[in-house]
């Protein structure tokens, strides 16, 4: 599967062709936490996929045929089906692809993960297990992870200084092979942010050759 390290497509670029059979395409941006969620799920489930990065400050005209507002992430199947909103995309992948299920099977446990996801910003109250869904990593952990990875980059890592359980969760997450495979180097993130705040159109490609 093609890696994440491709330049973002901007205005004037040609639209990519149809998605080949056996693959799913994700329209993404290397530093976006929402598409990070979907990339985590693609990786965790071992789904063959290709990544097309979009320049969010200089969107290609053709991209509005994929999403009416030009947002990411968007999934595109080989049958030209389009799925957007990060949580909807993650759930679609879990439903549509075999193998390891990230959402629990039990309806109440599924509902609990969805409630947690809704309350993410408001409540940090969870049970005494290593991960949010129990003793193994599951969907809810991947849905929350991208924001915690960015805490350090944004210089607000001390907001978990009074929440030891959450710090432990962060440490456990960093040991997960899927999380590790998609971890972005802190200096690359900072380089991106620096350029982004200067409205530099090359921000999205920071760190690529």
């Amino acid at each position: 599967m093609s890696g994440d390290a491709t330049k973002a497509l901007g205005k004037g670029s040609s639209a990519p062709g149809p998605v080949p059979e056996g693959l799913i395409r994700i329209y993404s941006m290397r530093f976006c936490p929402y598409s990070h969620r979907t990339r985590l799920v693609l990786k965790a489930k071992g789904i063959r996929h290709e990544i097309v990065n979009i320049n969010l400050r200089n969107k290609p005209e053709w991209y509005y045929t994929k999403h009416p507002l030009g947002q990411i992430p968007v999934l595109e199947t080989s049958q030209c089906q389009l799925i957007y909103e990060s949580v909807i995309a993650c759930e679609y992948l879990d439903d549509a692809y075999p193998g390891r299920k990230l959402f629990p099977c039990d309806p109440y446990e599924r509902a609990r993960q969805k409630m947690l996801s809704e309350l993410f910003c408001k409540i940090l109250d969870y049970q005494n297990t290593t991960f949010f869904g129990g003793d193994c990593i599951s969907m809810i952990d991947y849905l929350l992870w991208p924001w915690f990875e960015r805490l350090d980059v944004y210089g607000i890592a001390d907001c978990v200084s009074h929440t030891p359980a959450l710090r432990l969760w962060i440490a456990s997450m960093k040991q997960d092979p899927t999380v590790c495979a998609l971890l972005t180097d802190k200096s690359i993130f900072q380089g991106y942010l620096s350029l982004y705040f200067q409205n530099n159109p090359n921000a999205f490609d920071f760190g690529l050759c």
Partner: protein, 241 residues
């Protein structure tokens, strides 16, 4: 099903006991559009349930143990499991109970219903803003916005060429959207669907559905509730009882 027309429980009331086996309980409020979603699904799937109405202007202290946010709807089963957030309660019921599936089995079709739900997502807060506006002149901007949101829904129906949002028969997405369209008349907002003929046809079709008509509240009752609710009256939730 017990309780749907019962007086609401308020501060100082005793907490209800555990939910009997074979039943599921919904904490609700007779005029709440969010809770109406859950009632529609319970009815559509023929799920045995009991209803406890909550006085949202004078909430019982024990209710925050059911939902820390203190909002309805909340489901409680005989195992003491609690589920809240209206869309999550609806999906839970569809998954946990057998019978007619309201959400499609196909992953893509299911995702489509959720994307339509997102398209609809601005409507509830717009309707609330409209409800709360102090000055009658402010509302033309809000009406414009609502009209724009409804045009998005019209586009879906136009592209799908079906009577309902999920196809040619009623499904989950229709029940999730309905409560706000039901309230347009009471809010004197019927003009917001003037330029969306398919949406108007959909509303008429919804009113003919047995589940929808069983849960429907008449315009006078809606108006009576709204009046008292805007005055912050603790009697609002029990209007008409």
């Amino acid at each position: 099903m017990s309780g749907v027309s019962a007086r609401s429980l308020a501060k100082g009331s005793a907490p209800p006991g555990p939910v009997p086996e074979g039943l599921i309980r919904v904490y609700s409020m007779r005029f709440c559009p969010f809770a109406e979603r859950t009632l529609l699904v319970l009815k559509a799937k023929g799920i045995r349930h009991e209803v406890i109405n909550i006085n949202l202007k004078n909430k019982p202290e024990w209710f925050f143990k059911k939902n820390p946010l203190g909002l309805v709807p909340v489901l409680e089963n005989s195992k003491g499991q609690l589920i809240y957030e209206s869309a999550i309660t609806c999906e839970y019921l569809d998954e946990a109970y057998s019978g007619k599936k309201l959400l499609p089995e196909d992953p893509y079709e299911k995702a489509c219903q959720k994307m339509i739900f997102e398209l609809f997502s601005k409507v509830p807060s717009l309707v609330t803003s409209f409800l709360r506006r102090q000055n009658k002149e402010d509302c033309s901007g809000l009406k414009e916005e609502l009209h724009r949101e409804f045009s998005k829904l019209e586009e879906v129906l136009t592209n799908k060429k079906t009577a309902f949002f999920g196809g040619n028969s009623l499904s989950m997405i229709d029940y999730l959207i309905w409560p706000w369209l039901e309230r347009l008349e009471a809010l004197e907002l019927n003009e917001c669907v003037d330029h969306t003929p398919k949406l108007k046809l959909w509303m008429a079709a919804m009113r003919k559905d047995p589940t929808v008509s069983a849960v429907l509240i008449d315009v006078k009752a809606h108006k009576g509730f709204i009046d008292l609710y805007l005055q912050n009256s603790p009697e609002a939730c029990d209007y008409g009882l």
